[in-house]
């Protein structure tokens, strides 16, 4: 009799556990839907695996072209030109979660350097966090984002645009030169003690008594020489200050990735 009673109680308890779990899960789902009630996309396919969108030009058998320096392989996936603009799709690895960009880039045609005009993100596969990677993909004016299972590879593809290039570029030899991959702090990341110290110390050494200030307020980030400092108008101090701030603030991977194209 007691055994039967015990069995009934255990059965009821298991039922309660199951029911409580179902109710709890339902409320969690409703909560998540409500969070996106302002029109955000469904997250049902959040774990769907992304397919890479590497567009390879049929026009050039040498693409994709890869160059490895500093242990990092950069690839030109495609290039094209529209009137006097030349566009290159370049893939580069992301070494950590920061917002890395290709910098100090130019196009060399007949010995003349054409500066980089603009960049557009084509695809970003961010470094994995907790076994998942966020993917951003830009297509036809729309940025789509999704979460995929960790692929072990984090990278970014950007379209680099150069302007005022010769109209007969397809008949010329030219070279895409990328000198560094760098990152600037995000908006809230300027006034960190180690950054301030790395600027203050060398400035103090060159100009004893100089005071460096870091300002981070809504809408503005940056370093400056204190306005009551005697060095605030000193051209030499300002020049050194620009150099040091540029060096300290922007993390850099210096390399020389050169891609040559024949006419």
């Amino acid at each position: 009799m007691i055994k039967k009673r015990y069995f009934q109680i255990v059965a009821i308890a298991l039922f309660i556990v199951g029911a409580a779990y179902i109710v709890s899960t339902t409320f969690q789902s409703v909560g998540a839907i409500n969070d996106d009630s302002d029109g955000s996309p469904s997250t049902d396919d959040a774990l769907a695996k992304a397919s890479p969108t590497e567009v390879i030009s049929d026009l050039d058998p040498y693409l994709p072209m890869a160059v490895t320096k500093e242990g990092l392989t950069l690839e030109v996936l495609d290039y094209r030109w529209v009137e006097n603009e030349a566009l290159f799709d370049v893939k580069f690895p992301l070494v950590d979660e920061r917002d890395w960009q290709l910098k100090n880039v130019y196009l060399e045609i007949d010995g003349k350097q054409y500066p980089l005009w603009a960049t557009t993100m084509v695809e970003v596969v961010e470094p994995a966090v907790d076994g998942e990677q966020v993917v951003l993909r830009y297509e036809n004016g729309i940025v789509k984002d999704e979460v995929i299972a960790d692929t072990g590879k984090a990278y970014r593809i950007d379209t680099l645009t150069f302007g005022d290039v010769p109209l007969n570029l397809d008949k010329l030899d030219f070279m895409l030169v990328i000198k560094e991959i760098s990152t600037t702090p995000n908006e809230g990341g300027y006034c960190k003690p180690d950054i301030i110290k790395s600027i203050q110390n060398p400035m103090e050494e060159a100009f004893p008594g100089i005071e460096i200030v870091c300002i981070s307020e809504p809408g503005f980030d940056g370093f400056g020489i204190a306005s009551d400092s005697t060095f605030v108008e000193d051209a030499e101090a300002l020049s050194l200050f620009d150099t040091i701030v540029n060096r300290v603030l922007n993390a850099r991977i210096i390399g020389l990735w050169q891609f040559s194209f024949g006419g």
């Binding site: 109680i9 409580a20 969070d35 302002d38 500066p115 830009y138 940025v143 809408g219 300002l238 200050f241």
Partner: protein
């Protein structure tokens, strides 16, 4: 004996109440619970809502007059589904203005010339509508806003 059974059932019910929420919390805790999202971010500066945590430059244009003196960026946060504009000055001595041109426009203009590597950025707008970032520098005057030059291409998030 019956009293003991009641105690056991009570403990099981207590565990049952706590167990599902802890399992669900660990497995699929929505990240958006911690951030503003879409139009909920509009009008805020990114650091105020921690939206700069995962900020990415999704489009950029160099300001060339004719030398390159600055970079104008369209910034995007996937956590917050929002855009904003940021302009970074590369050479000291210029006034800077920046505008995020979207469903709502927000602009910032420096009241004085800036040092190199100083930057200004706008408030956020929802990424659900087409948006671009524009920026301008001037060596003589405060930049008039909104800015309509040196603009990135348009972006929308879906």
């Amino acid at each position: 004996m019956q009293k003991k059974m009641i105690h056991i059932v009570f403990v099981i019910m207590l565990v049952a109440t706590l167990l599902p929420s802890s399992i669900a919390g660990a497995a699929d805790e929505p990240k958006d619970l911690y951030y503003c999202s879409y139009s909920g971010c509009t009008g805020y500066y990114a650091p105020h809502q921690d939206c700069d945590d995962d900020a990415r430059n999704v489009g950029a244009i160099y300001i060339r007059i004719p030398d390159t003196v600055g970079l104008n960026e369209l910034r995007y946060s996937e956590n917050c589904h929002s855009y904003w504009a940021r302009t970074i000055l590369y050479e000291s001595g210029y006034y800077v203005g920046t505008t995020v041109d979207g469903p709502t426009d927000y602009s910032e203009a420096s009241p004085a010339p800036l040092y190199a590597q100083q930057s200004i950025y706008t408030r956020m707008v929802t990424s659900a509508s087409a948006t671009r970032a524009c920026g301008k520098v001037d060596d003589d005057h405060v930049v008039d806003v909104p800015v309509g030059v040196w603009c990135t291409i348009w972006h929308t998030n879906s």
